[in-house]
Amino acid sequence: MTTMTIKPSTMTSESVTLINYVEVWTLPENDDGSSAESLQLDHAFVVDRDQSRRIDSNQKNSPGQGIAGSAWKQQGPVILQGENSTVLANVRSHAGIPIDALLAIPIFRDYDLVNVVVFGVTNGNGGIEIWTRDERDELAISGSWYEGLASFEFISQYVRFPKGAGVPGACWKDGRPRIVPRPAEAPGFIRSFDKDPAHLADCIGLPIGRDYGFAGSIILLLSDESKPFARNFSLWQCESSAPSESDPDPTIKFSGSSSNASDFSPAWCQQICDEVAKERGTVILHAESGNLPEGFQFGVVIPFFAKESINDLAVLLY
């Protein structure tokens, strides 16, 4: 994992993005190649308006412990919210900022857990939904957080998506993440939020599963025009091969991105792909190590695996 060298700065009161806290947990490998028995917190960041800062990350979680451990134990994404959550209170106190909800995203390489990425959100309109397959082979909401979307929240609990239907069903069908810009105008986004004060700018669908072709659950991130999830969020498509005896270190070739990344040079995108290929897991980017475009302070690159190959990267820059 790339090391982080951004120095702590004075904390400001408000983030310009809906995600104001990021943790990246890793499941280390033992010397014999087996997985360790606890997740290691490698990186924790607070996203501030002026300068994001790194905070102490010397923690471990066993399965079921903390939100990262819960995602590991459940083998799927987890949302935590509410004043009574001790885990949320601990993270708030550790980060020193208000956090309304936490989302833990487990990243699997084939059947193995590689990372758990935890996002904290606060103080802005938007939504996070976890859609899970039910007994009718439809996706139903199994966890959610909303702000400024009361009407949308109400109706969403009664909505179901078969494979291929709506954004969650489309992610399930092709097993790949996707961005739907301007959901109000997009034919693929079929739930209505017109009665709500939030004005959705982007809908991002992320399939989460332990096996290629079966998305155990779909995460939907809904961001408001006034507060995006990240200062830049893009999905990149890659061409990569699975590691083999003849090629233990496969390369990842950048092959295009969503429109949000059109300003970045293909050379830089390829450089990031090379870092992900080397890491075979989530990569943290930071300004001082020179692997970020100007104006950004840090970034998270989350790989989406199809068995052992990486087909897509979700890139969040702050």
Binding site: R160, K163, G164, I190, R191, S192
Partner: protein, 288 residues
């Protein structure tokens, strides 16, 4: 297709209907339509005119061969029409030279060939009575209103004791009072008989009032399920209570917003086709 349970009573998996196109590849009017119905459930299918709702229904009825996908009722593949699935169309299609009792008897004779004449007659009378036609059993279609004729059509369908009842806009030709009356009649029967039912309708209020779930279909070609909506109102339903429910209009809004979005998508599609045609025309003119 998985093993049938009461939770997967009717299974529609990747159902596709394609028609041959002499100018290119087949036109898929319905594509990858997926829906699972529980036993005794009432599911409405709504969507714009021509989107393929009735095509889906006729495929489930076995009246229209499927091009791809799978279709099963209680775990058995559907390969054609059968007495396990009854259909009520918008027009009752009664035989004009037969009384209402004789019209109902036609199907009953086929389904109960070993029953006595008396038993078959009792079945017909029972179901005509259920639809409120106890006094009109010996009337001919010409002697009955449209609503009464449709009641005969419903009695004829239910008297077969189908596992699945398929209603294709059954109230489409009726005035609103008769329509409401007939909706209540059907709901009363379905609550009693627990028949798994698919209703095709244009009417969002009808869909909410009658259904446990509503399937919203996208516009064709390649029409499919846009989303499913669970209707949480308990049964038996009382119309006034449903209309007064504080959340009734949230469901209504969700359905109308979906249909409006489909309409906009259709307009945009038509516009893009026109633009492409204009471009081709200009290219032809430029080429002389």
């Amino acid at each position: 297709m998985s093993k049938s349970t009461s939770n997967r009573y009717v299974e529609i998996v990747n159902l596709t209907k394609a028609y041959p196109n002499p100018f290119g590849r087949d036109i898929e009017v319905v594509k990858d339509f997926n829906m699972i119905l529980k036993k005794g459930e009432i599911v409405s299918v709504i969507g714009h005119s021509g989107c393929g709702k009735s095509t889906v229904l006729t495929m489930v009825a076995g009246l229209n061969p499927i091009s791809a996908g799978e279709l099963a009722v209680e775990g058995k593949q559907v390969s054609g029409p059968g007495p396990d699935r009854s259909v009520v169309f918008q027009s009752p299609c009664l035989l004009p030279w037969m009384t209402s009792l004789e019209n109902v008897m036609l199907g009953v004779k086929q389904c109960y060939p070993h029953g006595s004449r008396k038993q078959r007659r009792q079945i017909c009378e029972h179901y005509l009575n259920l639809v409120g036609l106890a006094d009109s059993m010996h009337k001919y279609p010409r002697e009955m209103s449209g609503g009464m004729q449709q009641r005969v059509g419903i009695a004829r369908a239910i008297a077969l004791k189908p596992q699945v009842l398929l209603l294709d806009e059954p109230f489409g030709r009726l005035d609103s009072l008769t329509r409401m009356d007939l909706q209540d009649t059907i709901l009363e029967i379905l609550d009693r008989e627990k028949i798994t039912t698919m209703v095709i309708t244009h009417d969002v209020d009808e869909a909410i009032y009658m259904s446990d779930r509503i399937c919203m279909m996208t516009n064709g070609p390649e029409a499919t399920v846009g989303q499913m909506l669970e209707v949480p109102f308990a049964r038996p339903r009382v119309r006034a209570e449903i209309l007064d429910h504080p959340r009734y209009y949230d469901f209504r809004f969700a359905l109308i917003a979906f249909l409006e979005k489909q309409e906009h998508a259709k307009d945009a599609h038509v516009k893009s086709v026109h633009e492409k045609l204009r471009e081709s025309q200009n290219e032809l003119v430029a080429a002389g």
